[in-house]
């Protein structure tokens, strides 16, 4: 794992939101962080290329942009797990799929362009696997604390 020095931590902890929309935004941010514009850009480039940051830029709210998203779960028998993972993942509408330790051991996100397509994907997965897909659409969202301290 690439190690972070104190300046990297300072950057990550203070630059997860509120990035300037000025003409020279890295210069604005660098002033706040006590760095030079060039140093900030160099360090961010390294953090992105080493994979410690997924990217640097706007984080869009998928639901506000069009398209529908839901979380689904299944109780998959252990001996069929790999096969069913392949069947589920074969749907391009399945964006993420996680194995979790629980009777509900497969959790995946279905993202479609239109709300009505969600039901079709769920129905297809149920008929291919013979298992019930439990649908957990988001109801209320409480303040998303997407920041993480490092």
């Amino acid at each position: 794992m690439t190690t972070l020095d104190t300046v990297d931590r300072h950057i990550i902890n203070n630059l997860q939101e509120g990035f300037s929309l000025g003409e020279r935004p890295f210069r604005d941010a660098a002033v706040q962080l006590g760095l030079s514009e060039n140093d900030l850009i160099t360090r961010l480039s390294r953090l992105v290329s080493s994979g410690l940051l997924s990217r640097f830029g706007p984080l869009f709210n998928a639901e506000r942009l069009g398209g529908a998203v839901t979380l689904c779960a299944m109780q998959v028998p252990r001996d069929r797990f790999e096969t069913i993972a392949q069947q589920v993942n074969a749907h391009r509408e399945v964006a993420h799929n996680y194995e979790r330790e629980h009777a509900f051991n497969m959790w995946f996100v279905v993202a479609t362009e239109h709300q009505e397509e969600i039901e079709g994907v769920i129905a297809a997965i149920q008929s291919e696997t013979g298992l019930t897909v439990f649908n957990f659409p988001k109801q209320q969202e409480f303040f998303l604390h997407l920041k993480v301290a490092v």
Partner: protein, 167 residues
């Protein structure tokens, strides 16, 4: 909500497509976006500001890779929370600095009694469990039961590519 309902025009959608994978790390990143799509940098900045104010953009900045940063334990804590308490306790859970996502979702009784989902990241399972304990203290008797589901494997992760070009 579709892109059209969010009042996004063709230029907004081009800006979304040009920036959702990240800004170029150059001194004038918004001008670069403008060059790419044929509008002024000042227009790119004004439109991004509007999208930020409308909640179409959640935030602009560094987007950390939890796993690469050593936050390798990921526990989905799920709670059977008294429906009458959701309105005042939900926001308090969401405001905890170690909770990255917090939502209510439907129960599926009898297999699934839980209605509140709070995602907790940590450097170890122990750390996640200690944080979940803090949530438990906060919810007190309003939570009838809870569980923590640790992820053991990522089976697929394509990233949500936003389909903003349709409209």
């Amino acid at each position: 909500m579709t892109a059209a309902q969010a009042n996004l025009d063709a230029v907004d959608r081009q800006i979304i497509e040009a920036t959702q994978g990240g800004l170029l790390l150059v001194p004038r990143p918004y001008d670069e976006v403008g060059v790419r799509i044929g509008v002024k940098g000042s227009s790119v900045r004004a439109r991004l500001r509007k999208m930020l104010e409308a909640g179409i953009i959640r935030r602009i900045g560094a987007i950390p890779n939890h796993f690469a940063l050593g936050m390798t334990a990921n526990g989905m804590s799920v709670w059977d929370l008294d429906d009458a308490a959701v309105a005042w306790l939900g926001p308090q859970v969401g405001a905890l600095d170690f909770v990255t996502h917090c939502y209510t979702r439907p129960r599926h009784p009898p297999q699934w009694p839980y209605n509140l989902f709070a995602m907790v990241h940590g450097h170890s399972r122990q750390e996640v469990l200690e944080k979940v304990e803090q949530i438990s203290r906060l919810l007190g008797q309003a939570a009838y039961s809870y569980d923590v589901l640790f992820s053991t494997r990522i089976l697929k992760k394509t990233g949500l590519r936003l389909q903003a070009a349709k409209g």
